[in-house]
């Protein structure tokens, strides 16, 4: 479904964000991409979504390389994908119903009552059928994200990308989203890629994990393998340890010298 081969990328030439990344995502699976903030995982997601093109290597999505696509082909590919943004990115001037109906109105020529049924279906799947007439400003964070999820799956995509879907959610909404990701993936027969640093919860829902640090994949495996991993960074990350390969202290001159203590 998705193949990333030796990809390197940087927003500007001087600072590469991804150095040499290779990974494969099999159809029908839920994949997690995890790592510290700034390790390049969101950038990787953007490369999969073809918002950017790799400076080296190839990104193949749904059988096609993203680098060779013109605008038409790109849009055709994107219609088979769905992306959930970090805070939902709902259109604030439209109601919940209109937001979910948006991709249907833009890409299909279905009659209004058919669109109505589809929207109701999608909202029911995320449990917000009753909120159809609310405006995004009236929704809580968790609800907004669920509506965004409904909008995401409006066209029954084959590939769903999640950008930090668990950020800032209360435990209940958290649990809801986690379950929805798994259920939607299985019921749609789709493939899901989750970028997150919520380790414990993500490990409970994904089939396979890729760990990134400093623009490279440093570890991968099934959730159990990751939990039991001896690799120092993975260990520190999974267990939330204070110090390890990622040091607690930001590089600084010697402590006594800073306090100007006399030599003891």
């Amino acid at each position: 479904m998705v193949e990333i081969q030796n990809v390197a990328f940087g927003y500007d030439a001087a600072r590469p964000v991804l150095r040499d990344v290779s990974l494969t995502i099999a159809r029908g699976s839920v994949i997690g991409i995890m790592g510290q903030s700034g390790c390049g995982k969101t950038t990787l997601l953007r490369l999969i979504a073809a918002q950017f093109l790799p400076t080296q290597g190839a990104v193949r999505v749904l059988g096609e390389a993203t680098s060779g696509l013109d605008r038409e082909a790109l849009y055709r590919m994107r219609r088979r994908m769905g992306m959930l943004f970090q805070f939902g990115a709902l259109f604030t001037d439209m109601s919940v119903y209109e937001n979910v109906a948006f991709p249907l109105r833009e890409h299909t020529v279905l009659a209004e009552d058919l669109i109505h049924d589809l929207v109701v279906l999608k909202l029911e799947a995320v449990g917000l059928r009753g909120a159809a007439q609310l405006m995004p400003a009236e929704l809580s964070g968790g609800m907004a994200r669920r509506v965004a999820l409904a909008r995401c799956i409006a066209l029954d995509p084959q590939l769903i990308l999640y950008d930090e879907p668990f950020t800032g959610l209360d435990p209940i909404s958290f649990g809801v989203i986690v379950r929805l990701i798994r259920e939607l993936n299985d019921s749609l027969g789709a493939t899901s890629v989750i970028v997150t640093h919520d380790v414990q919860e993500a490990l409970g829902v994904v089939d396979y994990v890729y760990f990134m640090a400093a623009g490279r994949v440093i570890a991968e495996g099934k959730p159990d393998e990751i939990r039991a991993s001896r690799e120092p960074f993975v260990h520190q990350f999974v267990n939330g340890e204070l110090d390890g390969p990622v040091p607690f202290h930001y590089p600084a001159p010697a402590y006594p010298a800073e306090l100007e203590l006399a030599e003891v």
Partner: protein
């Protein structure tokens, strides 16, 4: 400072100046390509005219109050000031001519343009900038909907279509205000007011040129507004800076274009 240091300092300054000019020119080129792209992809805005109509509402109708009130007051002030000067030459019956020509040729398009830039232009920039900051633009792109065709183009055409209407309303109300002050308040002869005005204001040379100016200003202001919004840095501070830039750049553009257009239109291009 030694000579070498002074030279180094100057070189640094010149380099920065050069960079600023280059980046400005580059940005202008980028904005031009953006405009071209917007116009070429205006199919959606025109086919689904509902979208453009909504934007005419937000840009035009919501600017009505400020345009109408300002027009009325400008016309009234013109009449007051104009009478003051004209009656010294015994030409107070030409008050209608003064008010009408000033408004139709210059003040209507220019002042309406400036007001439009600060009210509607800044609103458009803020709206698009905010959509960018909250990732709505990216979400649209991810849903394979061209955000420029769907969001930018309707706003562009909404502004371009609203501007001439607002300028005409400004001029019309200004003349009415001039009539109120000149004829009703001060006592200039109503017949002379209107008849001299009609003899002096030419449909082609004055009114049409005024309309052309307002269209040009509309294009300039709306272009700047949508571009600054789309190009804004997606943070709160970035959006606020973009809004400021819209108002400032639009105002300067209006005044500069006004000079160019006036020189072309009103100072005999052809020698008699």
């Amino acid at each position: 400072m030694s000579l070498a240091q002074i030279l180094e300092h100057t070189r640094g300054r010149l380099e920065r100046l050069g960079n600023a000019v280059t980046s400005y020119v580059w940005r202008l080129g980028f904005a031009s390509r953006f405009l071209f792209y917007t116009v070429v992809h205006s199919g959606t805005a025109l086919r689904r005219f509902r979208l453009t109509v909504a934007e005419i509402y937000f840009a035009g109708v919501l600017s009505l109050i400020i345009i109408l009130v300002s027009g009325l007051f400008v016309g009234m002030v013109l009449a007051l000031q104009g009478y003051e000067t004209l009656q010294r030459f015994g030409a107070s019956e030409s008050l209608g001519v003064l008010v009408a020509l000033s408004l139709v040729r210059e003040l209507g398009p220019v002042v309406a343009g400036l007001l439009f830039a600060s009210r509607a232009g800044s609103a458009i920039t803020a709206e698009i900038g905010l959509m960018k900051a909250t990732e709505q633009i990216s979400a649209m792109e991810m849903m394979a909907v061209d955000p420029i065709a769907r969001v930018v183009a309707p706003r562009f055409w909404g502004g371009v279509l609203s501007m001439p209407i607002l300028a005409a309303l400004f001029s019309a109300l200004g003349i009415f205000g001039g009539y109120l002050v000149g004829v009703q308040l001060i006592g200039v002869d109503a017949g002379a007011f209107w008849s001299q005005m009609q003899a002096a204001v030419d449909l082609r040379n004055d009114i049409l040129n005024g309309v052309i100016k307002s269209v040009v200003f509309g294009v300039a202001v709306t272009w700047i507004a949508v571009f600054e919004g789309y190009d804004a840095v997606p943070t709160a501070e970035g959006v606020s800076r973009a809004t400021t830039r819209t108002v400032v750049t639009s105002s300067l553009a209006i005044l500069a274009l006004d000079f160019v257009l006036t020189a072309l239109m009103f100072t005999g291009g052809k020698p008699a």
